[in-house]
Amino acid sequence: MGGATETFYSVIRRQGMTRRSFHKFCSLTAASLGLGPLAASSIANALETKPRLPVIWLHGLECTCCSESFIRSAHPLIKDALLSMISLDYDDTIMAAAGHQAEAILEETRAKYRGRYVLAVEGNPPLNEGGMFCIDGGKPFVEKLRSMAEESMAIIAWGTCASWGCVQAAKPNPTGAAPIDKVITNKPIIKVPGCPPIAEVMSGLVTFITTFGKLPELDRQGRPSMFYSERIHDKCYRRSHFDAGQFVEEWDDKYARKGYCLYKMGCKGPTTYNACSALRWNGGVSFPIQSGHGCFGCSEDGFWDKGSFYDRLTTIKQFGIEENADQIGMAAAGVVGLTVAAHAAVTAVKRLTHKPDRAAHKSKPS
């Protein structure tokens, strides 16, 4: 597959892209990363001179939506460029090779680019029953993951599956599916959560790594801060309705038609770190809230297990019942209130019956 001396630029030109389009791509990428005007030429320079970054793309338990998203990165020309930018040496979903030929590439990359390739993982490994719930190339996927991670430079955990566990790790999680950072602990892991992640976030991240030859700054949760430092809520175009106290009360009411805030409809924008409200989807066309539906919080940890997507106060399962904080709290306060009332009544009765005693007690303090 990819030779070590081939640069991105030579691949791009070979694929028939003009130099003009190439520079357009560089400027667009610089702009989308929020870099200064000079960064476009640095990106161009890097792509022209640096050898391509070998990438091994593994698939565990997943739905391939990350790949689907990635190959739709904003612009068709950019898509082509990105598939060539990295030397995607192995990706069983879209590669031509199959069977033993494909598996041989893994061994070759492991030996040839020891410590210099990036391992991109889409999906996650199930750990129960020795990993038998996901067999890949005749072996449990978890073994393949461990062996490829051993010699890699860094790991990109694509999507919520690899970052947090997602649907296959939702309760009760019969296969024991676990996010990558629970399995691989000795390598830098970049989490790119989202179900799927935004195409431009994925291509932007790859561009950053190939351009600067280093990993981006990560936040507390291990996500690249350039895309995950703000919540959907912080840049939501409906934010003014939130601050004004204008909320949709029911789907399809007049407030929904007016485009009010979806807070009461259970929108998870206030608790979800992602770039949807800034970058949007499908080349900047729209994002869920713009299409009239609240955010699911798909890029957050355990989003399948946090109760309904349509409730503001989500249910608490820790008590073995599915009630939200208000229901639990009101019940507790109610019980205590009744107890207090009953106690007050008994006190009053006792007071009346014990009056003579108390007078006697007064003379001898305890």
Binding site: S229, A244, G302, K306, R312, D326, H343, R351, S366
Partner: protein, 230 residues
């Protein structure tokens, strides 16, 4: 070292409290001006926080007119955050007062759970509230059961609310803010902040429950005393 110092101090202070005879004066427990002042500022802040917090959790009925002409939810959140600052600063000053003040000031922060006599007194207080004994051992202001309730329901909950509150505030204030830097570790415990919202909201109900019992116990004590002195 420091811990030991506090331990010694607290032991001495409690010895002083124990040595004092029980007097029928609720005032003695909270008669000290700073604690009294703190109590009412704190109560007002809690009232404001509870009301605004409940509304923030449920949302307001829709306001008519343009978004540019309204800022209702913004004002509610502003009130919540301001009251949160008042409560937090008050709580810090209260801790300071506990360290330099008298034994009573220390009570809600220091519960010697390992002391047998504490449990004996708690047992006695439970019996008193269960109408099984006629006289309480100490007035409500400093009985051991009240102290336990204060420590577990008030002190702990308020600490939890301050920490989670600032963590959630830090999310809005940006990840570069001091609030996020200081309290962001909360999201290492609950990576999905929806959980933090849920627990913070549940904390409101713990405080409400506490307030119910607290107010009842005080009113009952007051009227009992009034009855006794008649």
């Amino acid at each position: 070292m420091f811990g030991n110092d506090i331990g010694d101090r607290a032991r001495k202070l409690f010895a002083a409290v124990d040595a004092k005879p029980t007097e029928w004066s609720i005032g003695i427990a909270i008669s000290y001006a700073p604690v009294r002042l703190w109590h009412w500022v704190n109560a007002a802040a809690i009232l404001m926080l509870s009301l605004t917090g409940y509304v923030i959790g449920t949302g307001t009925p829709a306001m008519s007119g343009e978004a540019s002409g309204n800022f209702l939810f913004g004002y509610i959140r502003f009130a919540h955050f301001s009251a949160g600052y008042v409560l937090s600063i008050g709580f810090l000053l209260r801790i300071y007062w506990a360290l330099i003040g008298n034994a009573h000031a220390m009570q809600i922060f220091w519960v010697p759970l390992w002391r047998k006599c504490l449990w004996r007194e708690v047992y006695h207080e439970i019996r008193w509230y269960a109408f099984l004994t006629v006289e309480p051992e100490r007035p409500v202001g400093r009985n051991r059961l009240a102290q336990l309730a204060m420590f577990f329901m008030f002190t702990q909950t308020i600490t939890f609310m301050v920490v989670t509150g600032f963590a959630l505030y830090g999310q809005g204030a940006d990840t570069d803010s001091w609030q996020y830097k200081l309290f962001g570790w909360v999201f290492s415990i609950w990576p999905n902040s929806q959980d933090v919202h849920t627990w913070h909201h549940l904390g409101l109900w713990v405080i409400v429950t506490f307030a119910l019992v607290h107010i009842y116990a005080v009113v009952r004590e007051d009227s009992w005393r009034a009855g006794a002195s008649l």
